[in-house]
Symmetry: C2
């Protein structure tokens, strides 16, 4: 287990690499001359040159004839290369993702960046694979990332630390990790949840359920808004009417149809995590003969095409989608050139009123005013 068999030139290159990674030698700094190293290690100049050459090939050092050998500036290298941005998102839905990615791609490509998109499928393990792949590439100028299962502990922290060590700018979209100091561009999920619940309350609803996604940050934030609104109105919010689902449930929501129906039985209104969930809920309720909005009012979030088309048009709080992508990309570019820039942004919430909520203040039907 000793280092008897390790060649001298490897020992020296390892030592030099350590000097750089441990910041004993900093970028741009001139390192010891070949002859100094010869004396330090009692080795021939040829051997020392061999060691240095290895690090030059690794783009850790660069040498200038007549001047000396220097530690590479990684920033400079990154700018020299064809700039490349990695986008990491959880999974491909048909409404938020295409619009957001279009916004991102529009801005980045206009600024000469190439874009790589990867998917984690909301699995931390795959997030790890993707990050490792990005770390292997040495030409990534920045990263736009959506947190994967952001509510759960994450074992990829060392990978994020490595990204930060390399000074690769990072912006979160939609949801983010609280344990990493990085800007995030999001809609205001908590306020959307709050306002959506308040809206139901204003329409006379008192027993209000909620369906939230447990394994992402947006679901938790929307839930916290729901809780705040309910508690401010003196209503119970820690009840069986709050139903937690995960990504897998969303895909096969019919499997939990009877559970949903049972848990929401006493409710007059329900806040749905997003339009997809709302649409699925309406389908399920329809099978049980429960009509929206007459028997149950629904408010949802995202205001996607699913809210606009289809049978009952949904009252929904818009997700900024394309604008969010554009903002994230614009801010990332600025962040690349100005590391001090505060790239975070939160979009204000708003409401699009349609026909999925019944005003039960008045005895008969009718909606606004």
């Amino acid at each position: 287990m000793n280092k008897e068999n390790v060649p001298e030139y490897i020992k020296v290159s390892d030592w030099l690499r350590y000097q750089v990674t441990s910041h004993k030698l900093i970028p741009g700094q001139k390192i010891y001359s070949e002859n100094e190293l010869c004396r330090m290690f009692c080795l021939s100049r040829q051997t020392i040159r061999h060691s240095i050459n290895i690090l030059i090939n690794e783009e850790i050092l660069e040498s200038h004839r007549g001047s000396g050998t220097y530690v590479c500036d990684p920033e400079k290298i990154r700018r020299m290369r064809c700039a490349h941005i990695a986008v990491i998102t959880t999974y491909v839905d048909t409404y938020i993702f295409p619009n957001t990615i279009r916004g991102i791609e529009d801005v980045l490509s206009k600024n000469g960046y190439t874009v790589q998109i990867s998917f984690t499928n909301n699995e931390p393990e795959r997030e790890g694979h993707v990050l490792e792949d990005i770390l292997k590439r040495h030409d990534v100028s920045g990263i736009i990332i959506e947190a994967t299962k952001s509510s759960l502990p994450n074992m990829n922290r060392p990978l994020f630390r490595e990204l930060q060590r390399r000074n690769i700018p990072l912006i979160f979209i939609n949801s983010y990790y609280s344990w990493i100091k990085a800007p995030h561009v999001t809609m205001n999920d908590a306020r959307a949840g709050y306002r959506a619940t308040k809206y139901l309350i204003s329409k006379g609803h008192r027993i209000i359920g909620g369906i939230f996604k447990a394994d992402d940050g947006q679901g938790n934030k929307r839930y916290s808004g729901y809780c705040r609104a309910m508690s401010e109105a003196g209503l119970a919010y820690d009840t069986p009417h709050v139903i937690w689902i995960d990504t897998e449930d969303v895909r096969h929501i019919e499997d939990i149809g009877s559970k949903l129906k049972e848990r929401l039985r006493d409710c007059t209104g329900v806040l749905c995590y997003n339009d997809e969930v709302a649409r699925a809920l309406i389908r399920i309720l329809d099978e049980f003969g429960i009509k929206v909005p007459d028997d149950l009012s629904i408010v949802s979030i995202d205001n996607s095409d699913l809210a606009k088309y289809g049978g009952i048009k949904l009252t929904s709080f818009p997700h900024p989608m394309e604008k969010l992508g554009e903002t994230a990309a614009t801010n990332l570019i600025r962040l690349i050139h100005d590391p001090g820039f505060d790239a975070s942004y939160e979009f204000d919430e708003s409401i699009i009123e349609r026909e999925s909520v019944k005003d039960i203040n008045k005895p008969s039907s009718g909606a606004h005013r």
Copy 2:
């Protein structure tokens, strides 16, 4: 301009590199020993070793102690690395693209590949940039690509030739270039156009218009199917009722609203390039008080969400979308391991009948049977 100042070791490494790229030395083959090269070039063994080391760093050669120096097998290297697939598509719509990419991503990630997605925005110049970026990376195991403006001449042919020279497998989806010998996974656009037109004819229509996209292969294929069906029925097909639009028109289709209305005035039926066009056409016609299907029947292609939801539900020929992505990815993986595999696939066309076509054989309304 002579090579007086070029160092010997560079001359030798250049010579060796040329021997490999010109296939005078083939992958796996043992090259001359260091001592042979010393004699050949009248140089010292150290200088020869320097030359060889350069090529080892470039992963063109590999040496085995006691055995010799060999030409690298690029296939083997590619397999050793974290396998990476590049997907190049034209632009991000909200219905075909997300589904196709989901199919691709599903299959590839399950097989341990990472996926990079790039967009050309249907501009050949950007296609060129993307291809150059891919060529710069040396770890791309395969490419899934949608042809950009496939009906126009393309100046990126040298880049495609370089891909083929490097034996990087390539599969086209949706539309392809006829000037490059590569497999393609597509829906059968010509037959869909043919069957869609025949369908209108079978419903009694005789003056049938068509709106096609000029700058992609799918538009042209769908048009050719339209022509064949019309000509078989003895109907005129080379008329003002055929309207060509490009990608830009699709985005701002309202700008050509009056043109569309004017050109389709005498028609009782029209074949639309896709659901997006059909949906836009219905909006435009509505402004002029023309009702679908009573005043004009519409058949479209793709059967996206746009066909299913919204006012008048569209009779449409499905695009395989997710299945197409899955097939392309599956075939690409097979092609990577078995270069002889015929990876082409064409999906059969089918029809989803809804309410956008009126049967004018019968005097009064009614649709199927």
